[in-house]
């Protein structure tokens, strides 16, 4: 069952990145321009995708990050996948983002969205999003939900539990 869950996640591959940055612990796809990443937020995957927009410099984002990590580490055979979309500055990907991922031992998928023309893509993630981070998109077969908020552990886990129960 674990093996099966793993293959389901792999089947929902991330879109082809523009380039890749890496350290000895992490390999991170970088999308230059929203268009390259668009399929990630526009499709309706079978697996519940929890897509969190964040940055290392954003204190409330860093505060809630452990709860997203718990979802990944403790998912067992639950059909969910966490994708952390970093909006870190282009000049700080190697100097700040990669060391952060290593220090915190982040195991969820991390990608970088490098597109400063945010007005052109924020509404495509969700029209209710003002652009403040953190923001999280919950995407599944019958689910499309955006939350512009910092989650507590209970809020995040309760919401994910209820979304998974609703899934047929």
């Amino acid at each position: 069952m674990l093996f099966l869950a793993g293959s389901i996640v792999r089947a929902q591959a991330l879109p082809e990145p523009t380039r890749v940055i890496s350290s000895n612990t992490h390999v991170v796809p970088v999308y230059r321009g929203f268009e390259a990443m668009a399929p990630l937020v526009e499709r309706r995957p079978d697996t519940l995708h929890i897509i969190n927009f964040w940055a290392t410099w954003c204190a409330p984002c860093v505060k809630e990050l452990p709860y997203f990590e718990e979802l990944t580490r403790e998912r067992g055979d639950r059909p969910l996948k966490v994708v952390l979309v970093s909006l870190d500055f282009r000049q700080q990907l190697e100097t700040r983002l990669l060391p952060f991922l290593k220090d915190r031992d982040i195991t969820s998928s991390v990608v970088v969205l490098d597109d400063p023309d945010a007005n052109s893509w924020i509404d495509r993630v969700d029209p209710s999003w003002s652009g403040a981070i953190p923001g999280t998109l919950f995407l599944g077969k019958g689910t499309r939900l955006f939350r512009e908020q910092t989650f507590t552990r209970n809020e995040l886990h309760s919401l994910v539990d209820s979304l998974l129960e609703r899934t047929p």
Partner: protein, 202 residues
């Protein structure tokens, strides 16, 4: 478990919809005046500016990297438009108990370091930003005076490239002020940008 989580989910959903309805100004609305403390200790209100045609009100702060990235461009906006009747009024909406870098003392330090030519006001008690509906820093509200009222004419970002001013090819705020000066309506009159959340005690 099932009976518990489903009502909770419904509650979360309802709360989300309610806050969306109650959210601040839209273009065309009348904006409130205020009386807030400037970094020089003086109290500042929009009504102090009898000669102004309007205001570039910018909710911004010290700590947010996006705000810092725009500091020089905010200074340039004030230099360009103050004498044309649209001065910049910067307001820090954050609660320093949550973000100590945005304390009044730190605001004074930053204003001096950067020689801000515009007032940099402290939204003490966080009474003003919720009325405007600001959600992030930086967040611009362009106001135009009209029969004693301050009408919101543009809401949003300063330009379309936070990381590299040279590569911004849409200068939303400058274009919006130019439009008002020419007697036109700004187009676009609403844009979005990534920014830092406004810091409040939960």
């Amino acid at each position: 478990m099932k009976t518990y989580t489903l009502p909770l989910f419904a509650l979360l959903f309802t709360l989300g919809s309610l806050t969306a309805i109650a959210d601040g100004y839209e273009v065309g609305d009348r904006a409130t005046d205020f009386r807030l403390k400037n970094v020089d200790g003086a109290m500042v209100s929009l009504s102090d500016y009898s000669d102004a045609k309007g205001f570039i009100v910018i909710f911004t702060c010290n700590h947010c990297p996006y705000s810092v990235a725009y500091e020089d461009r905010i200074i340039a906006l004030d230099r360009k438009y103050r004498d044309k009747g649209f001065p910049v009024i910067a307001i820090n909406p954050n609660d320093p108990a949550v973000q100590p870098e945005d304390s009044f003392e730190k605001m004074q330090e930053r204003a001096e370091e950067k020689a801000f030519p515009f007032p940099y006001l402290f939204d003490e008690g966080q009474k003003i930003y919720p009325q405007y509906g600001a959600t992030r820093t930086p967040h611009v509200y362009l106001l135009e005076k009209s029969d004693g009222d301050h009408i919101v004419r543009y809401i949003g970002a300063i330009d379309n490239n936070h990381s590299d001013p040279e590569n911004a090819d849409q200068h939303y705020v400058a274009d919006a002020v130019d439009a008002l000066l020419a007697g036109d309506n700004p187009d676009p009159d609403m844009t979005k940008a990534i920014g830092c959340t406004i810091k409040t005690k939960k």
